[in-house]
């Protein structure tokens, strides 16, 4: 394979960023060694980590990622924490396992949705089907069995953002 096609600039940037962040300084020695390490790693593994580097250049995706981070961690986390805290005192729970269809195409998008669901209190992703089309989720309050309704309540806006960021 053409060595230049093997090189992945996204992997290069990621490795260099982690290297400098962990080292905690940007002296000449760090930049040179980090550059060499990142070059070796990105040539060795190629496009294993990032398949399409062009997606990284799109400012729209970064904008939506930042927006999602703010909205998720500030709004959604607070809401679900209050909800679960209420349930702890009132002992109102109707736990069960449900199945949710996934529309997002890319692997990282699916991981974003799954981890967002697990990270909010009250819902935990147990498994993902082998074709990646279904999520199995343990939900603290199974109030409905209607598929659309479940999707609206559990996934909320996660998937829209995952599509905009990764697809």
């Amino acid at each position: 394979m053409n060595p230049l096609k093997r090189f992945s600039p996204g992997t290069f940037a990621a490795v260099l960023a982690v290297y400098l962040f962990y080292t905690g300084s940007v002296s000449k020695y760090d930049l040179i060694t980090g550059f060499i390490v990142a070059l070796i790693v990105s040539f060795l593994i190629g496009h294993w980590l990032i398949e399409n580097d062009l997606k990284l250049l799109s400012p729209k995706r970064w904008f939506y990622a930042a927006l999602y981070g703010l909205r998720y961690f500030l709004v959604e986390e607070t809401k679900t924490h209050i909800d679960v805290a209420k349930r702890i005192f009132t002992l109102k729970a109707n736990p069960g396992i449900i199945r949710i269809p996934l529309d997002v195409e890319s692997d990282y998008g699916k991981v974003l949705v799954a981890n967002s669901i697990t990270n909010t209190p009250g819902t935990v992703v147990i498994d993902i089907s082998d074709d990646g089309k279904w999520l199995y989720v343990h939900w603290i309050d199974v109030s409905t069995l209607d598929e659309e309704e479940i999707k609206r309540k559990v996934i909320a806006y996660f998937e829209e953002y995952a599509k905009r960021i990764f697809d």
Binding site: Y19, Y22, T33, V41, I128
Partner: protein, 254 residues
Amino acid sequence: MKRDVFVSISFLMAFLLISYAITVKDVLGMAENPLRPLGGFYLRHAFAPSNLTSHSPEVVTAIVWNYRGFDTLFETFVFFLSIMGALSIFRLTEEQEKEARSLESREPHRHMDLITRATTKLVVIMIVSISASIALHGHLTPGGGFQGGSAMAVAALLLFAAFSKFTLERKGLTLGHVITAYAFGLALILATAIAPVFLYDGRLLQINLLPGETGLLNLDVGEYIAVTFGFLMVFLVLGISEWIFKVILRGEIE
């Protein structure tokens, strides 16, 4: 359960007792003599403009690779010997290796689900980067070759668990390549150890004669490579299933 509680409580009590005896009762006599002459020598000379210096602001690395460099050198050889022992016990001829591969391909191919795989990719890249940082900064900040190599071995283990041995071998991490890389690391260590003898008329491992920090950096990088690929080699050999080994070594192939 009960036994666990007893064991942990007795460990805690022993720890508290020892720290009380050392700090408050001063059984070791550290209070009146806070810094021993040898310690003072290390601290003064590890990074000094004068003649006797290791060119390293990190005193631990200076001690490991310079003041007691022979100890570390022989440690590396012991590690080498144990890996060679493991390899010679589990060695396979070329034909046997082919048989092992065909038997392995008959096993049900399983890997973990999509979420685990994608997350492992990210984590492995971060571990690789951080371990390189630990190793390459061994002579400046806490860290060093062995520590970096051990961190890197964790990345290899994660790949084994989340993907499979095949994935690594398909990507080019075959036993032959790994042994080559390991030999390269050892060669770097040896070359750095004997370079002062030939280039500067010094003694074996007198790395402070080499310009600047090259000595310590080379030894750290060599140790990093050697430890990383040494562990990986053992993982690759032990990654073959036990029943396949038994079938091949007993010659029970139909």
